[in-house]
C-alpha cells in the first residue's frame, strides 16, 4: 500500500515536471522566434536610405512589383545590401553561439570561446595575406576560410600525437598556433602599404559586416548551416562529453570520434563566420552562458536557445554599428564593449 501510494505520487511528479518543463521551453522558443522575426523586419527598415514600414510591408507581401517607379531603388537596397547583411549578422551570431556551446562542453570548461583552437587568428592570417597580395574580396574570404581550418587541423594533429592529456595538449597546440598566426599578422601589417592595405587589414580584423554581399554570404552560409546541423544532431552526445572521456566511454559513446566530429563542425562554423565578418569576439562565449542560465545545461535545450539569442544579439549589435554614428562602428569593437563587462560580472558571480 505504502509502495503503491509512493509510486503514484512519483508518477504525478514525473508528469508535472515534464509538462511544466516542456511547456515553458516551448513558450521560450516561441518568444525568442518572435523577437528574432521582429528584429529582422525592423532591421530591414533601418539605415541611411529611408524606407518606410509601409513600403517594406508592401515589398514583403507583394514582391518586387509593389515598389516600382521612383521607389525601385528600395528593392535593390533591400535585396543587395540590407538582406544579405541581416542574414549574415543573424547566422554568424547563431553559428558562433552554437560553436561556442559545443566547444565549452567538449573541453568541460564553460569559459571557452569558439576560437580556442586558433581558428580566428588562423583565418585572420589568411585574410591579411590575401589583402597584402592584393587579391579580390572573394579570395580574401577563401584564404580566411582555408587558413582557419588549416590551423585547427594542425592543432588537432599535434594534440593527438602528444603523450599526455589529449584535451590539454589540443588546447595548448591551438593557442600556440593562434599566437603564431597573430604574430605573422603583425608582420604583415608592418610591411603592408599604410595607404590602402594596412587600413583594409585593420578594418577586417576588427570585424565588420559592411562588405557583405549576396555572393560572400552564399559562400559562408552553406558550410555554416551544415556545421550547425551537425552540432544539433550531436546535442545528446555533447551532454555525455561534458562528463569526461571515461564516463562517456562507459556509457557507450566513443569520445574521440564524437569530439572530432564536433570540433570539425564548430571549426567550419567559426571559419565561415570569420571569413564573412572578420573577427567578432565574445558572442560565442557570452550567449551559451546566458542560455545555460535560463534553460540549464542540457544541450537539447541550450543549442536552439543559444542559436536564437546569439542571432538576435549580433543582429542588434550590427544595427547599432551601422546606425549609432554617421561612421560605421566596427562590429567586433561593439561586441567587445558589451562582452567584457559581462565577463567581469561572470567572474565575480562565479565565486559566490
Amino acid at each position: 500500500m505504502d509502495g503503491l501510494l509512493k509510486r503514484s505520487l512519483i508518477k504525478k511528479s514525473v508528469h508535472r515536471f515534464k509538462v511544466q518543463n516542456f511547456k515553458s521551453f516551448k513558450w521560450l522558443m516561441l518568444i525568442l522566434l518572435l523577437i528574432s522575426f521582429l528584429l529582422i523586419v525592423s532591421s530591414l527598415a533601418m539605415g541611411f536610405y529611408h524606407i518606410s514600414i509601409k513600403e517594406l510591408l508592401m515589398l514583403l507581401l507583394y514582391g518586387e512589383e509593389a515598389v516600382t517607379g521612383e521607389n525601385s531603388s528600395v528593392f535593390i537596397i533591400i535585396k543587395n545590401i540590407r538582406m544579405p547583411r541581416i542574414i549574415a549578422a543573424f547566422t554568424i551570431g547563431a553559428g558562433l553561439s552554437m560553436a561556442g556551446a559545443a566547444y565549452q562542453g567538449m573541453f568541460k570548461n564553460p569559459l571557452v570561446s569558439p576560437d580556442i583552437l586558433g581558428v580566428s587568428n588562423g583565418a585572420g592570417l589568411g585574410a591579411a595575406l590575401a589583402l597584402t597580395l592584393g587579391l579580390s574580396n572573394f579570395m580574401v574570404q577563401v584564404y580566411a576560410f582555408v587558413f582557419g581550418i588549416l590551423v585547427v587541423s594542425l592543432a588537432y594533429f599535434i594534440g593527438s600525437h602528444a603523450k599526455f592529456g589529449h584535451d590539454v595538449s589540443l588546447v595548448l597546440a591551438g593557442s600556440m598556433l593562434g599566437a603564431l598566426s597573430s604574430s605573422f599578422i603583425t608582420l604583415l601589417k608592418y610591411i603592408a602599404d599604410p595607404n590602402d592595405t594596412l587600413p583594409a587589414i585593420t578594418f577586417w580584423l576588427m570585424g565588420s559586416l559592411s562588405k557583405v554581399t549576396i555572393n560572400s554570404l552564399l559562400f559562408s552560409l552553406i558550410p555554416m548551416t551544415l556545421g550547425c546541423i551537425i552540432i544539433y544532431l550531436l546535442r545528446w552526445k555533447l551532454n555525455l562529453l561534458t562528463l569526461g572521456d571515461e564516463e562517456a566511454q562507459a556509457m557507450g559513446i566513443d569520445p574521440k570520434s564524437t569530439r572530432l566530429i564536433a570540433i570539425a563542425a564548430a571549426t567550419i562554423i567559426s571559419a565561415s563566420a570569420v571569413c564573412l565578418g572578420g573577427l567578432i569576439g565574445w558572442v560565442g562565449l557570452m550567449i551559451p552562458h546566458i542560455s545555460r542560465g535560463i534553460v540549464g545545461a542540457d544541450y537539447r535545450r541550450v543549442l536552439p536557445i543559444a542559436a536564437l539569442m546569439g542571432g538576435s544579439f549580433l543582429l542588434l549589435m550590427d544595427d547599432l554599428a551601422r546606425s549609432l554614428s554617421t561612421m560605421e562602428i566596427p562590429l567586433g569593437v561593439l561586441t567587445a564593449v558589451m562582452g567584457a563587462p559581462f565577463f567581469i560580472v561572470l567572474i565575480v558571480k562565479r565565486t559566490r
Partner: protein
C-alpha cells in the same frame, strides 16, 4: 557473468596488473582490496576497456570482450566513478537519463520512456526528491547515490564502482552500502574497490586481495582476509576480531595491532 583470465595490463611498458584471474556471478559483490598503488584502479580501467590490456581475456556473459563493440559493453557493464565536481549545471534527472545513452540509436535522444526509466531508478534508491535539483548543488553523498542511480538507469548486469565510500562521512557511507544492497536485490553483480579491510565483511560475497599488482587471495571474505594475509599486504600486524552489536549479530572487523 564476468570472468577474467590471466589479465595483464598497465601504462606504456610498465605492468601494473600482473596475471590476475577472478570471476563474478549474478548477485555477487566483489570487493577489490589492497594498499595504495596495488593496481586496483588500473584493474577497473582494464575491465572497462578505458586502457588496452596487454594479454589475458575478459568474458562478459560468456562473450569475449575483445569481440564486443563499446556500446554492447556499456549494455552489460556500467561504471560508477567517484563523485567529482561538475562545471555544468545539469539537473539530477538529466544526469541520470544520460545512463540511457547506450540504449539509444545513433543521433537519437532519450524518449519519454527513457525519462520514466530514469525516474524509476531514482525511486529505487529512494532519492526521487532530488530529481529537479541541480547536480552541482547537492551533497557529496547525494551525488554518489545519483551516480548509482545513473548506473541502474543504464540497466546493466554488472556495476563497477571506484571506491564508492571514499571521502564520504559515516552516515553517507551507510546510504551507499544500502544502495549497493538494493542493486544486488535487483540481481546485479557488483565490483567495487575499497580501502577499508573491514568493508568486505559487511557487504562482499567475494574478495580479491591485491599486492603490487598480483593476487594474494581470491574467495570468500573470511577465507581470504586473515591476519596473515593482511599483514603481508599492508606490512603492519593486523587482527580480525569478532564483535557483536546490540542485536547480538556477530560482525568481523580488521584492526591494526599496536
Amino acid at each position: 557473468m564476468l570472468r577474467v583470465e590471466n589479465l595483464i595490463g598497465g601504462y606504456g611498458k610498465r605492468e601494473v596488473v600482473k596475471n590476475i584471474s577472478f570471476h563474478v556471478e549474478k548477485g555477487d559483490v566483489l570487493c577489490i582490496l589492497g594498499p595504495n598503488g596495488c593496481g586496483k584502479s588500473t584493474l577497473l580501467k582494464l575491465l572497462l576497456r578505458f586502457i588496452p590490456k596487454k594479454s589475458g581475456r575478459i568474458f562478459l556473459q560468456g562473450q569475449d570482450m575483445d569481440q564486443l563493440h563499446r556500446k554492447s559493453i556499456a549494455r552489460i557493464v556500467s561504471y560508477i566513478p567517484q563523485f567529482d565536481s561538475m562545471p555544468f549545471p545539469y539537473t539530477v534527472i538529466e544526469m541520470v537519463t544520460m545512463g540511457r545513452s547506450c540504449h539509444l540509436d545513433r543521433w537519437k535522444t532519450p524518449s519519454k520512456k527513457d525519462n520514466r526509466f530514469a525516474y524509476e531508478s531514482l525511486e529505487k534508491l529512494r532519492i526521487s526528491h532530488l530529481a529537479d535539483k541541480l547536480y552541482t548543488q547537492i551533497s557529496g553523498g547525494e551525488r554518489q547515490l545519483v551516480l548509482m542511480a545513473r548506473a541502474l538507469c543504464q540497466d546493466t548486469r554488472v556495476l563497477i564502482m571506484d571506491e564508492p565510500t571514499a571521502s564520504l562521512d559515516f552516515a553517507n557511507q551507510q546510504l551507499v552500502m544500502d544502495a549497493i544492497a538494493t542493486a544486488v536485490q535487483e540481481g546485479k553483480s557488483i565490483i567495487l574497490t575499497t580501502h577499508s579491510p573491514s568493508q568486505p565483511f559487511t557487504i562482499a560475497t567475494k574478495v580479491l586481495l591485491l599486492s603490487q599488482g598480483s593476487t594474494v587471495g581470491f574467495g570468500k571474505p573470511l577465507e581470504v582476509l586473515t591476519s596473515e594475509s593482511l599483514e603481508r599486504v599492508y606490512g603492519i600486524p593486523m587482527d580480525i576480531v569478532t564483535v557483536s552489536d546490540r542485536n547480538q549479530t556477530n560482525r568481523n572487523i580488521c584492526l591494526p595491532v599496536h
